[in-house]
């Protein structure tokens, strides 16, 4: 325990000795400051003393507390913490493992009565501490801003601390392994960012293909309903056009299902960065009561003929299904992906990467 604590403290000292640590903290402070400077009134959005008139965004459409909570999630969590702060944390900590295995340093550590795997995992935990600290400070400051400016004291925002740390841990486990293998901070950073980009691409592809798949299913269901309706009016009605349309949609659906199965399998085995961030949203929406503001306003779905007349379909290429139904079905599909699937499989991937890292570190000659 003494050694574990010592490595945690040492890692903190190492990271805090870097300018990037303080730059990152400074940027977090700036984001919170910007957050505190904006507000909402009956005319629209305010920035310090100025007001930008917005008919759809004012206290008549949204309560002040909800505005801040929404801003915290959309800008603070999704943009700042999930992307920029994570990237800064990676830049700061990419050198941790190459430094650990550097000649002249590693010998003194390995000659101690501490198992190598514990050294490796302690260093990893130290790196996570950095992100936890950064996110914790950001959430603490945001909590105060939302409380003071928005009048809503919302402890649910602290859920972002473990979730963003978990998100970062997926990437940092890869960064640690690459750093140990290559002994280069630059290689560790670049390859990790590349891996992150790959995960983002895979995730986006899966989302798009899944959207089209669900859209096509909704389309087929809509065609079936239309055929039924026609037949209810007249049992002998000619539905050849609709049957042809259905067959075409069915063929496309089979291809989409195959493509989605492949992407989904790949995604299951890899960390789900986007969905982990979405979990923060899901829990925050539940915890902070943001349902009313996160849902789309009900709208009158244009008829199929109207859509055709306008020469455009809904999203995901459907023309017969209502967009609202498709979006609801996609949302239901996303929500059906349980926490265990999102976090469990992602953490399993991380555990495998850490195990490989420990094995490399344990068996290598230095």
């Amino acid at each position: 325990m003494t050694a574990f604590r010592a490595i945690l403290v040492d890692t903190y000292r190492e990271l805090s000795s870097k300018r990037l640590f303080w730059l990152s903290m400074g940027l977090s402070a700036l984001v919170v400051l910007a957050f505190a400077m904006i507000g909402i009134n009956e005319k629209g959005m305010s920035i310090l003393a100025w007001t930008i008139e917005l008919p759809l965004l004012n206290t008549l459409t949204l309560e002040t507390g909800e505005f801040y909570k929404l801003a915290f999630y959309t800008l603070g969590v999704r943009v700042w913490l999930a992307w920029l702060a994570c990237l800064l944390a990676l830049v700061s900590s990419a050198g941790l493992f190459p430094e650990l295995v550097a000649s002249g340093t590693v010998e003194t550590l390995l000659a101690r009565p501490v198992p190598r795997w514990r050294l490796y995992l302690s260093k990893f935990a130290g790196g996570l501490l950095f992100t936890m600290l950064q996110v914790g400070v950001f959430c603490g400051a945001s909590f105060i801003v939302i409380g003071v400016r928005g009048g809503a004291w919302e402890p649910g925002i602290f859920l972002a601390v473990p979730m963003v740390t978990v998100l970062y841990s997926y990437l940092f486990s890869a960064c640690a392994l690459i750093g140990t293998l290559t002994r280069s901070a630059i290689a560790a950073l670049l390859l990790t960012v590349l891996f992150w980009g790959f995960l983002f691409t895979l995730n986006s592809s899966e989302s798009v293909v899944n959207g089209f798949r669900i859209g096509k299913e909704q389309e087929i269901a809509a065609i079936d309903r239309l055929i039924d309706r026609r037949r209810q009016k007249d049992a002998n009605v000619d539905v050849t056009d609709l049957s042809g349309e259905r067959e075409q949609a069915d063929g496309a659906l089979q291809s989409l299902r195959t493509a989605h199965r492949i992407l989904f399998a790949a995604k299951t085995a890899l960390p789900k960065t986007d969905e982990t961030v979405a979990l923060v949203q899901r829990w925050m929406v539940d915890a902070a009561n943001l349902d009313s503001v996160s849902d789309d306003e009900p709208e009158q779905a244009p008829s199929v003929l109207e859509k055709r007349r306008r020469g455009r379909g809904t999203s995901f290429g459907v023309v017969r299904a209502r967009e609202r139904d498709v979006v609801a079905a996609i949302d239901a599909d996303q929500r059906a992906r349980g926490v265990m699937w999102i976090l469990g499989t992602s953490l399993a991937f991380e555990a495998v990467v850490l195990a490989i890292g420990c094995r490399v570190f344990t068996r290598r000659d230095f």
């Binding site: 050694a3 040492d10 010998e107 009565p113 000659d365």
Partner: protein, 319 residues
């Protein structure tokens, strides 16, 4: 019978590509002695130390460290180590670096704080305890590293080139520290290129060449074995031929003008008497009679020189 702090046999290390760093190395280091491991670059000295300290995994090994099997963590808790070209974390102060080293060895907080203070005073960094290591000179880092190696009050200390980068005053202080450690009953395992320094402090030495121990024993015994013990007779006067003496030796730049040097191939003063009598008879004035033993450097060169080619081996391990 006391347990030897280091007792190893048949240690082998072959790296990928078939490079034999160590071939069947056997060593025994007794408690309370300063043991010097000598050898040219690439002989395998550092590899051997790293194997003993679990930094490098051996291809084969048998033996014990402080009476426990090699790799035993409890034994490592009683070992201090200063690697060659070590790098203390530059973001730590000297005190933090020493305390961090103690924490890794499981030394409890109050004790490691006290030890850090004592040791930094001992190595002459009293006024630098709370300065960042990044601002230290190479010699100061070496001193801080030495303090870090001793923080756990080790029974056995491995020092790889401890005087590297240290000024002459610092070297003398480190040598004194090694002697002090021996007096305290600690065992010191010293890897050094500086043969003159090793000669001054080591009780026993081993010479490693291309992964093999080619000579091992008490320094005095090895010097005696060398059969190069002699008396040097120097006088002022004419250079003449003397009975039972080699010489006169060619004058060196450091020699006083008119000084002649002769060598009697014995350490017994009685054997030099005929030469001294002959010198006096020739009207010369005897200036000095100095016993000479084979120096470690000569012993080392003899051990590492190929008897066939008459040359020392090229640097590096053998394939």
């Amino acid at each position: 019978m006391t347990i030897a702090p280091i007792d190893i046999t048949g240690v082998r290390k072959t790296y990928r590509g078939g490079v034999h760093a160590l071939r069947e190395v056997s060593l025994r280091v007794e408690a309370g002695e300063i043991f010097g491991l000598l050898g040219p670059n690439g002989a395998g000295k550092s590899t051997l130390v790293k194997i003993l300290l679990t930094v490098v995994v051996p291809t084969a090994s048998r033996g014990t460290l402080l009476g426990r099997p090699l790799g035993d963590k409890a034994a490592l808790a009683q070992v201090g180590y200063l690697p060659e070209h070590h790098r203390l974390p530059p973001y730590l102060t000297a005190r933090q670096a020493v305390e961090f080293s103690g924490a890794l060895s499981g030394v409890e907080r109050a004790r490691r704080r006290r030890r850090a203070d004592e040791l930094l005073d001992l190595v002459g960094l009293h006024d630098w305890k709370d300065r960042k290591v990044a601002s230290f000179s190479k010699g100061m880092r070496q001193r801080a590293g030495l303090a870090a190696a001793l923080v756990n009050d080790p029974q056995l200390v491995f020092l790889d080139e401890p005087t590297d980068g240290v000024d002459p005053v610092g070297r003398k202080e480190i040598r004194d520290l090694l002697v002090r450690m021996r007096e305290e009953g600690r065992t010191v395992f010293l890897n050094s290129h500086l043969l003159s320094e090793a000669e001054q402090v080591c009780d026993r030495v081993a010479i490693l060449l291309q992964g093999r121990v080619v000579k091992q024993g008490r320094l005095a015994d090895l010097q005696r074995e060398g059969a190069c013990q002699r008396l040097e007779v120097r006088w002022k006067g004419a250079a003449v031929s003397l009975p039972g003496c080699e010489g006169p030796e060619p004058a060196s730049a450091a020699d006083e003008p008119g000084l002649a040097r002769y060598r009697v191939p014995s350490l017994d003063a009685a054997d030099a008497q005929p030469a001294i009598d002959a010198a006096r008879a020739a009207g010369a004035q005897v200036v000095s009679l100095v016993p000479q033993r084979e120096r470690l450097e000569e012993l080392f060169m003899k051990a590492v020189t190929d008897p066939v080619t008459g040359r020392p081996p090229p640097p590096g391990a053998g394939a």
